[in-house]
Symmetry: C2
């Protein structure tokens, strides 16, 4: 199997000022094309370290895919190191220089381009050039005499991703004569602990080589991923289907969706199937729950909108929360959460409403109401229920977890509704 | 200078199913403590590859800090590889076993713990144990005879971060006898291109060794980071202050904040200084703009709330947008954006209101209104102005960029207001 290493370049990465999202994206695309990633590395803007790393990687693997170090800044040392690692030198690449000049001309700039931009057209001799329609710096693949290679792309994701898809992956397909790929299908669960899922599926897990199964926890959500190596999508589907059926039998109702489907998407899907509409009334989450729903393509057929009543006066004027409730129980209380959810149904004209109110911190705690206390509520035509939660961590942690918990509450509410006679009522 | 390498462990990382945020966090903490990160690596759950990587890293650097591979799953091979790399063997660590048993007992579980959890207490002989108050798997530091070491922490950020802060960093401080650290100060700018900032500060940039300057673009925002290596915070401040002054002189009014301050935070700060309140009326951004404001601690003194009018009927009922405006110009139009912003001031009772309406895709385009078209508006007591934007990319890209553009519009509005006589009016 073709095997490469990914190298992300930039001192910012070693200082932790930048989270490397490029390498995960590249790894996913490579996996889908059946190319194994042997190791990933990050290295600073240091020509000697980079060259050593590249030489070592080319000993272990068939090639290196690198991002970063190609921008119009003064500390660009990448190309020197790459040329040296593959045993060549740098030279001006005339077509790339013209492409850079054309790009500047298209922006309406006249006159010669600056030295920084000219330098972007200097490439290892004999390199295969990867066009960059979204920026000035071209990418390139520099190959050693034995065919091992270093591919370099810009670090800006908006430039790297199209270059990978339209230029580098086709080149890799030819280079490796690719015949098979890894296909994945991911089952998303909520409400079951990772260890519980592990226990339920371990016998299956142990027996399997292809497809493989991986369990991955993301807070409330636990994913079960099926990975099949196959010739094509149809063969992968044949391999995955019986494993998925076996997993569904063992895991049961906790599975809310597959692959790209989010919990918000699943809630919208089930509501849509039942012909119901949704809205939210938010305080502590500040629109985060609404945003999760609007992120779902086609949300408008179910999701109507939201009232973000951060100020207490708006809880009364827009959501009809009784001032006496706020006075007696406080804005962060079961009573207020229930009143917000009920009020949202009226104000927004929706069938089901979610509400959030809490104390994200760092200030705002009162006796008996610590930072991290959040009340969630869901209301429908039959009544409303609330749930008290407390979250550790920062303001961001509390708010993020509250959004997920609100989605979780909605999902469990829909599951429960399904198994309940229509005459049941709650208040 | 003490120098380590960071290794993140997990096949999921090489498949790109997980973005590694741990290593950036660890790198930042290490930099703050004056420890240099020489390289970062990700490796799969493969004992042989991990051991080879660890052996090579210990040749180059003083130690390795690893995360992942310690969870209660069946594919745990990390500890074997670590023990082997430092030349020791595994043994049951009795205090860690008791800690795991106590943790389960505290959850109300009785009886013996399972084999998977028992295995978590098996550690390299002689290891220094890093307590894990937030999970079952303890971390540890296994040292070679010559003092070079491999530190292992769980991959779950909520367990890793406190362990790093409370157990590993103190250990590293003792191990390296740390005397100096790198201190950073970051100036955030908006509205100036990266290349323009580069050009303005390059003479300064070239001349400096300590502090160093780095320029980093994040979409609309361009950061200029000053990094000083110093004995303590006071010495760092002395080194940074004159460089910051020189940068401010060259960059000017585009600087909206420093360090942790966000654009939303800067908008709230300036509004607060002027005694004004804020609200938003959102459609395409679905609460994302409101959420950016609520993310700022203390937002409640300025930010009142929002109306998310995703459904057109709510644009009329809650924001007072004339049905005729929606009929004649459409929901995504200058007229609707202006009416939403004006209406939000009334409904939310705020001084300044932002509005967003657009087509995030993938569906929803109409002749003359492509996917990616977004109208933004800002209204205050003197009138309202709108701005037309078009964004490439996915639904997420369009929505995310619209949130930033709305914040950008608010900031530019505040800058302009400041330099304008109070009698000026716009409609």
């Amino acid at each position: 199997m073709a095997s490469v290493e990914i190298v992300t370049i930039g001192t910012e990465l070693l200082l932790g000022h930048l989270v490397d999202t490029n390498s995960a994206y590249i790894a996913r695309e490579l996996a889908d094309h059946g190319i194994d990633v042997y190791l990933k590395h990050s290295v600073g803007d240091n020509a000697r370290r980079l060259e050593t790393l590249l030489r070592e990687a080319l000993q272990r693997s068939d090639g290196v895919i690198a991002t970063g170090g190609l921008g119009p800044t003064v500390d660009d040392l990448t190309k020197d190191a790459v040329a040296s690692a593959v045993g060549t030198t740098l030279e001006m690449h005339a077509p790339s220089l013209r492409a850079i000049e054309d790009r500047f001309a298209s922006f309406g700039r006249s006159g010669p381009i600056g030295e920084n931009n000219r330098r972007q057209a200097i490439l290892p001799a004999g390199a295969f050039v990867l066009d960059n329609p979204n920026g000035t710096a071209p990418g390139f693949v520099a190959s050693r005499a034995d065919g091992k290679f270093v591919a370099c792309m810009p670090g800006v994701p908006g430039e790297m991703k199209p270059m990978l898809r339209d230029a580098l992956l086709p080149w890799l397909g030819t280079r490796f004569g690719l015949q098979s790929a890894i296909y994945t299908r991911t089952l998303h669960t909520v409400g079951i602990a990772e260890s519980e899922i592990d226990a339920r599926i371990e016998p299956l897990f142990r027996a399997l080589e292809n497809p493989k199964i991986a369990v991955l926890a993301h807070g409330f959500r636990v994913d079960v991923k099926i990975m099949a190596k196959a010739r094509d999508a149809a063969a992968a589907q044949d391999a995955i289907a019986p494993v998925e059926a076996a997993l569904r039998e063992r895991i049961g109702a906790g599975i809310f969706g597959v692959d790209e489907e989010t919990l918000a998407g699943a809630v919208l899907r089930v509501l849509g199937e039942r012909g119901l509409t949704l809205g939210t009334a938010e305080s502590v989450t500040g629109g985060g729950v609404a945003d999760a729903f609007v992120a779902v393509p086609g949300a408008s057929s179910v999701f109507r909108g939201a009232v973000i009543a951060y100020d207490n006066a708006l809880k009364t004027s827009l959501l009809g929360v009784d001032e006496a409730v706020l006075r007696e129980h406080g804005a962060v209380s079961e009573e207020t959460a229930l009143a917000m959810a009920r009020g949202a149904r009226v104000t927004l004209g929706c069938d089901v409403a979610l509400a959030t109110t809490g104390i994200a911190g760092p200030s705002g705690a009162t006796p008996g109401k610590p930072v991290g206390l959040v009340w969630l509520a869901v209301a429908d035509g039959r009544g409303a229920t609330a749930r008290r939660t407390t979250w550790p961590g920062s303001r961001d942690d509390v708010r993020r977890r509250s959004v997920t918990a609100a989605l979780n509450l909605a999902w469990r509410h829909l599951e429960k509704e399904e198994s309940q006679p229509a005459s049941a009522t709650k208040t």
